[in-house]
Amino acid sequence: MRTSGRTSKRLTINQKYSLTGWGFLAPAAILICVMNFYPMIQALVLSFQTGIGNNLQFGGLSNYARLLKDPVFRTALVNNFVYLIIQVPIMLILALILASVLNIKDLKGKGIFRTAIFLPCCTSLVSYAIIFKTLFSYDGYVNTVLMNLGLISERVNWLSQEGSAKVIIILALIWRWTGYNMVFYLAGLQNIDDSLYEAAKIDGANAIQSFFKITVPMLKPTILLTTIMSTNGTLQLFDESVNLTGGGPANSTLTMSHYIYKASFEYNPQFGYAAAMSYVIFILVAILAFVQMKVGDKR
């Protein structure tokens, strides 16, 4: 009798705690449902509809069929992947190297270096796009310096040639985000015990060997996290395309998000088609995250 009474009481306490827990996470969960999941479902419904503006009718898979035939969407997709494949690895490797160097013991002025490298992150996306646009404009600073140094004989239209416009977007992205990722690696590095490095040193490993044998494997979860975050961010690029190059020249820097925006708000609005395009981004992000997690697990 006595014991059973106690258990029932403990159960209620546990139940109470469990309920409190639900209460604690309810606001956040409801908000995510209403602001993320519900719109996602609506977007899915929308993606099966065709028409201009609010005159929509059911169109089955026609929007998805349309996607396959759209050269502009293909261009935007390729652009996104060019950014992803070139920019993300360079940025993450650079961030990792910077973090490891900053982690070297008895190096002075670490705080200043860390602050300096993180600072670009404080500029808003619009601001830094404009800074880069101005620096690389026809009468901008970069041209002036290169002219004065005699490296070029005529001013270059950096932002109006396909190749250089893409390169500038990539440079800008690396500049803006390397410091951000570096902070994650720095935090991760502090969890690695120094004795590991000491032991490696005794075994005769040099700095590069211990970087690959200790640092990289120990930071695996953090590297995975930053890779997923960067992939996600790169596939959703919008501000840079709009403010740095306007998607030009001839759509060569246009991103998928920018094209979705144009299709919804600049052209005669094609919401159904825009929703179908956004599902492509969602599926790509999900697949890439899944693959990255699998690869991350195996190693």
Binding site: L31, M35, I97, S124, V126, I130, F184, Q190, N191, F282
Partner: protein, 269 residues
């Protein structure tokens, strides 16, 4: 040998720092020069700051945009921190199988691209007549999986014994969170504040769509307008960019120590 290595390290860091800071320095110096000097490649600070400022406030309603951005970003950050920290705490302290399932479902939201939810959200908010209001600005991003995860991971460093002891003392669950957890986790809050405020302040796509009235214009929108005009005064433009970057920059400089520690707490788990 060791010395050479050290010099190489310093050299590398210095180059990286200079590259990082140079565009920012250039922005600051350009804000104090007139357009001709900016385009002429002048690098030294000039004497045109006040002139540029006068021209800027003549062209754009800087006070209103700054005030709007400040109000939206502060409200959003505070609410976001409250909602997400309670949730992160709840997931960790009261965790059981079902809550873990809910958490992993919520994490899926991290992969939802904003472009996908843009149109339905736009229809939702305009349907309610909430366009151009602060509610429309903040509601979609109050609760983010990233922040919930950050708090959940950090809560693991919060000693369980404190909770047990407080319960024996008869403190209610809410009070334990407010009086014990909150003050202890300052650095996590600082990290979360920095990230959230930066995102809130720099938000561009959603406000561009939903904040239609000129009265609800934000700083990034104002700066984008400045750069899209027919005749651009680069000194004035860069001053606008500078003002737009100041709040996030200052916030980071103030909170940076706690910021790194806060991220550390999250990465540890």
């Amino acid at each position: 040998m060791k010395r050479v290595k050290k010099i190489a390290a310093y050299l590398f860091l210095t180059v990286a720092s200079v590259i990082s800071v140079f565009p920012l320095y250039w922005m600051i110096s350009a804000a104090t020069n007139n357009s001709t000097d900016v385009l002429g490649g002048r690098l030294l600070p000039g004497l045109h700051l006040i002139e540029n400022y006068k021209e800027l406030i003549l062209q754009q309603n800087v006070g209103r945009s700054f005030g709007n951005s400040m109000f939206y970003s502060c409200t959003l950050s505070l609410l976001s921190l409250l909602v997400c920290s309670i949730a992160g705490y709840g997931f960790e302290v009261y965790h059981d199988k079902r809550k873990d399932t809910v958490m992993s479902i919520l994490l899926l939201a991290m992969m939802v691209p904003f472009a996908a939810t843009l149109i339905p959200l736009f229809k939702l908010f305009t349907g309610l007549g909430l366009q151009s209001t602060w509610i429309a600005y903040i509601l979609p991003t109050i609760s983010t999986p990233f922040l919930i995860m950050l708090f959940r991971q950090s809560t693991r460093t919060f000693p369980r014994e404190i909770i047990e002891a407080a319960r024996i003392d008869g403190l209610s669950e809410i009070k334990i969170f407010a009086k014990l957890y909150f003050p202890t986790m300052k650095s996590t809050y600082a990290a979360a504040m920095t990230v959230t405020f930066m995102n809130a302040w720099n938000n561009y796509l959603w406000p561009k769509v939903i904040m239609m009235s000129a009265d609800s214009q934000t700083m990034p929108m104002m700066v984008a307008n400045l750069s899209a005009g027919y005749s651009i005064d680069y000194g004035v433009l860069m001053l606008g960019v500078l003002i737009c970057s100041l709040p996030t920059g200052i916030l980071f400089l103030i909170l940076q120590r706690s910021f790194t520690n806060g991220i550390l707490g999250a990465v540890k788990g």
